[in-house]
Symmetry: C2
Subunit: 337 residues, 2 copies
């Protein structure tokens, strides 16, 4: 007789902002690992804006979630039972695993994390996908130079907060755009941003004009919509725009309409490039090492918004679209033993 556990399945394609009715908590047996597999207990679940896109049934850079299947995302877990020579009981591992208490993973689907460098959850943020996203998007596409002006939207989020700090390491003048006075204060006082704008209370166009007297050389795009619209008229010649996210549009039920960008790009010979971290798969090792080095030197700080309890997973995910998180949003499901 297998023990039972809880899982979260997507049961409806959300229309607009997802609701609790789009998901179902169900009970299912804990599977047994076969040869070459490992049974792990979920410790942290990563909740990320990009998961919203996977809930739609459209072609994108990763396939959509299947209806009535367990949702997957980045997960930190602890090995309970190993039938692989590569893992031992109590190893801390990371992988793209299901939203459930226990998972059986093939040995190729997970890798060990070194909890001596940073707490395990950091492998979901600064030393994981969001840190690497910031690292490659900013440095490979944005290429900030000393003294240039870098603007980051979604600046207090998991990616944006790392982007701004890396831009500071590279000697740029960094302006963050975020959605609360608390976040603005955090960006300036904790992370060393040169300025930050609360888009909910300030006129972004006027505030950017004031904060960027020399124009904008790099705009790291996490948000899209009217915040992006305010950036384009301020681009300098040969500006670069890494396009990482457009969270303002993820729940839109209509086509996202705004000023077309072609004329701005021509006038300034600017570059705009979409990317996902997977494009840099062959360089993850390099990125992780550099990020870990900065972290250990104290040049990089990271924040987490930790929601306690598996039953809060959906709420933690929905909070992303309310901008409730500072830094990386994770759900703590169990303790490391």
């Amino acid at each position: 007789m297998s023990r039972l556990q809880q899982q979260i399945k997507l049961i409806k394609r959300p229309v607009g902002l997802p609701t609790n009715e789009d998901f179902e908590f169900i009970e299912a047996p804990i599977e047994e690992p076969s040869e070459g597999e490992v049974l792990v207990r979920t410790v942290y679940i990563s909740v990320d804006p990009y998961l919203r896109g996977r809930m739609n049934d459209v072609k994108s850079y990763i396939p959509p979630f299947k209806l009535n299947s367990v949702i997957t995302s980045g997960v930190i877990a602890q090995v309970v039972e190993s039938k692989s020579p590569k893992f031992e009981k109590n190893d801390i591992v990371i992988g793209s695993l299901g939203w459930q208490h226990y998972s059986v993973a093939k040995e190729s689907e997970i890798r060990k994390v070194d909890a001596n460098i940073a707490p395990a959850s950091a492998y979901l943020s600064v030393l994981g996908m969001t840190g690497l996203t910031a690292y490659f998007g900013l440095l490979d596409i944005g290429q900030p130079k000393e003294g240039e002006t870098v603007v980051v939207s979604g600046a207090a989020g998991a990616v944006g907060s790392i982007v701004g700090q890396i831009a500071k390491i590279k000697g740029a003048n960094v302006i963050g755009i975020a959605g609360s006075d608390e976040k603005v204060k955090y960006l300036i006082e904790e992370l060393g941003f040169d300025a930050a704008i609360n888009y909910k209370t300030e006129n972004v166009k006027m505030a950017l004009n004031k904060a960027c007297p020399n124009g904008i050389d790099v705009y790291f795009e996490n948000v899209g919509g009217e915040i992006a619209d305010a950036v384009f008229p301020l681009l300098n010649k040969f500006a670069r725009i890494p396009v990482c996210g457009a969270i303002s549009a993820y729940n839109s039920e209509s086509i996202d309409i705004g000023p077309r960008v072609q004329s701005y790009l021509i006038k300034t010979s600017s570059l705009m490039k979409g990317f996902t971290v997977g494009d840099y798969g062959s360089r993850f090792q390099e990125g992780t090492e550099v990020l870990a080095g900065w972290l250990q030197e104290g040049k990089l700080k990271y924040e987490e918004t930790v929601t306690e309890g598996f039953d809060q997973t959906i709420d933690a995910f929905l909070d992303l679209f309310e901008g409730r998180n500072i830094g990386k949003a994770v759900v703590k499901v169990s303790e490391i033993e």
Copy 2:
């Protein structure tokens, strides 16, 4: 007593589509060349869509025209009197010169063209700015590979017609978008495009879907607006979009609004880059040599729409926005002697 000649000045900033009232034909004396200068007689005047932008009083990649000054553009001229050791009477030269019958140019402002390689007017098109624009935009930003699908808007224009032919030289599958059945026929039958779409009579989205069963790898943007909107949903992973022009917006009196592109760029990791030919100034020699080689090998054809008579210059310019030209639009002002 100096002889008199006609000049064309910009006397009003056009609102929307320019009209004859924005320009004035005036009489002015023909100047005398000083030491190091040359008096030239205008042979061909280049009329180009980008000149519309210079008529607005806004910062761009080149300064706006001054009100009540003679308009300038690319001009082919013949030397009448030289006070420079670098030029002799009857030399054929090119430079950015005024819209007038005679100009005095400093020796540094003009250069000789070799009429043995191609007729002089070709230095305003395939061997000049528009050819180089096509060359660098397509090859440096678009980077078409054999077997890829390249879509060109404004395909029968001075730039687009060269872009499509270079893409064919590189082994791509080339689809042109243009505004008449005559142009569509010209693209397919004369220039060897694989397919062409008349955006005035066809549903561009459906026609593109049919013509691009493998998606779009390169979109060379000359037009913007709804034609561009139809391209974005068909972009392949790692698509490239050289943004050269957005003629559909040049005369717009309101902000040019359409679907925001961020999500399309993220889903496909696509690149969009504005440019102007001046960005490649250090490589003009290379570009001109390659283009001249293709021309002489018969791999590159070019067409001109020649309007006869200086008094027709404004009409020839305005015809660009009606899409009346095939290939390069030039005004023939005088004969080469």
